[in-house]
Amino acid sequence: GDSGGGSSSGDKVTYLTAFGAVGRDAFAWVAQEKGYFRDAGLDVTIRLGAATGENLKVLAAGQAQFANLDLTGTWILAGKGEYPDVRAIAAIHQQTLVSIVSLAGAGITTPKDLEGRKLGAATGSVNQLLFPAYAKLAGVDQARVTWVNAPPAQLPALLASNRVDALSTFLIGAKGLEKAAGGKKAVVLPYSAYLPELFGNGLIAPLAITRDQPDLARRFRDAALKGLAYTMEHPQEAAEIMKKAQPAADITAAVGEITLMAPYVKTSGVIDRQRVAAEIDTLQKNGLIPPGLTPDTAVDFALAPAG
Amino acid sequence: MIGLDRVSRTFPTRDGEVTALSDIDLRVDKHEFVAVIGRSGCGKSTLLRLMAGLLAPTSGTVTVDGAPVRRPRADVVLMHQLPALLPWRTALGNVMLPVEIRRLPRADHRVKAAELLDAVGLTGFHHRHPYELSGGMQQRVALCRALIQQPRVLLMDEPFSALDALTREELATQLQAMHMSAPATTVFVTHSIAEAVLLADRVVVLSTRPGRVRQVLDIALPRPRSFGHSAHVAEAAGYVAELHDLLLHD
């Protein structure tokens, strides 16, 4: 599973994917395979990440230098003072991909249909934390929605077995869900329809890197974004590259993810200061974080592409 | 009652087979008391275990009541050379074990068990566990456990080996009395020639390696017999001397 490059030259860095080896993370292996990292003088080891919190701990412990993380989740934690010492350096998903996903025939076509239903989500995920804000804007009585916690890997089975009526998950997982549900069509209600200011995944580095080694961060960012651009253009090849490094990956599912996330991706990785401010505002208004977090403590705008 | 027909028994070991018993022919009649003597390691215990159905003969047949012995029978009781007491049961509990297993009436046998324990000198030790008893006491508990079953065939493997001379004499005398009043077919392995002469109708002398029947001696003394104080003291001494010589010139 070690995807460390063959060359021993270059700065050694460890990079954590967002969630194992699925389509949304394929660009890292593309950057590796295509030599973008090497060309940038980097010797990157790609490690498979788990949940946002675990990945943050690994960053904090200095076991990794860069990670692909859910920016909204990271900022909630940073805002609560739990983990302020990281900075975003590029956005992968311009908008959050968090969505309500149910199966066709379950009778959930609008947010309102969620009332009186059971909703599954990854234990402690931001999906649940964001729901009140979403519910308010979508006119759902959130008191009438029952939440069920489960590990991420377990969610599809819960939906497919009708243990829950809908999931709050990333919309790019919908293809996999359809496959899991035996071909039933998935109904997707993205949070971004009501909360357009929220970001999705992004590249993150500890303050120690962005402050003390900005050049390293810049080189990494550019190489990774180059991989992202190539991935968006060649989803099939990107999936195959990832599969080569991670044989447990599934090409069809990965291609599906890459295609589904395309509308939310800007390959420039731009992070817009106004939108960051708007997101922080939304998070504070909904009581998810106390006042205090500013765009500059969330994002290193010297490093983040500006447009 | 018990018949052994050209019975041999070998044990496999890493360096070849050991023949414990070879070509044994022996009949024990109903109610007869047969003593078995022989040097240590000659196969006495093996012989009893064959009769008890705990071992199968390598060749030949063992019969009880004419039926081949394939497994232990309820009417044949073996008193093992080791006490083999259950450490979690008291003396009384150990004696009651066969009663429970054979589903005999408990209340009656409880009284009988207590009587037996008293008879072998264990008054006051009924509720002691084996590890609180001396070696000889443990052996006496095992004896009571065999006797309480009142079997038709009683096989005893050195039942008095851990006892002092006097207790031994007392118990041998009691055993004789029991055998006279309610005779069980008995095969009695002993190291004491005097004991064999006291108790047995016939004494079987085994030779060593491989164990064979060297001689069978009829003890033609009237009962009850006693150790050295009877009218037949000279005859008894003669038997003892004869058996002694038989063993000596093995």
């Binding site: 919190g53 234990t123 069920v148 243990r163 | 232990p72 093992h80 259950l86 429970e100």
Partner: protein, 251 residues
Amino acid sequence: MNASRPVLPVAGALAAIGIWWGATAVFGIRPLFLPAPPDVVAAFRAQPGYLLCETGATLLETVTGFGLAVLLGLLIAVTLTASRTLERAALPVLVALNSVPKVAVAPLLVVWLGFGPRPKVVLVLLICVFPIVVATMAGLTSTPSELGELSRSLSASAWQTYVKIRLPWALPQVFTGLKVAVSLAVIGAVVAEISNPSGGLGAVVVLSGMSFDTPLAFAAIVLLALLSTALFYLVVAVERLLVPWARAIAG
């Protein structure tokens, strides 16, 4: 000797806490990774009712699952030792099934058995049963040959042999299995609760972990450790009660 009865374990516990505390202080470990004892105490004192209630939930699942595992484990062990054929055919399958990681099974159990306590009890059962089976089988096959001959020569039925001789003899070894199993039982309950955090200390661990409240997570872990230790010593106490003779015949 007797006066020191409660002193020693307490001393051991204090030493352990001391090392823990010292480490957090000396290495300047952040509470996020390893909170110091006072943080944990504070976390507990913030919501003792909630934590104790969740402890109760975990305890109930653990005890139920453990109890079922004892019954099932003894049954399996007796069955497998009764027939050599059965043992040779079934034991490998049992070993293979046991090696399926319980963490991977936990989600499936929820799918099959729902969100209630049932999948948790079943997971505890699954994780406990194997040590009990292995230890009981070892105990049942270690009857000394003279006791084996005794029961055979008494023509004891298979049932009687087990109840009167082999099982009592095996008890000390059964308790070895029970001691291992009881500490796995708590772990099993926690694994199930982590995978389906609808209650219990496992849910506290995972939920507080998600919200980066490591002291609360540690308060739950400390309660788990206490729970597990209490159950372990309960098993030890039952052992002392049931097999005093084992210590008497050992030297």
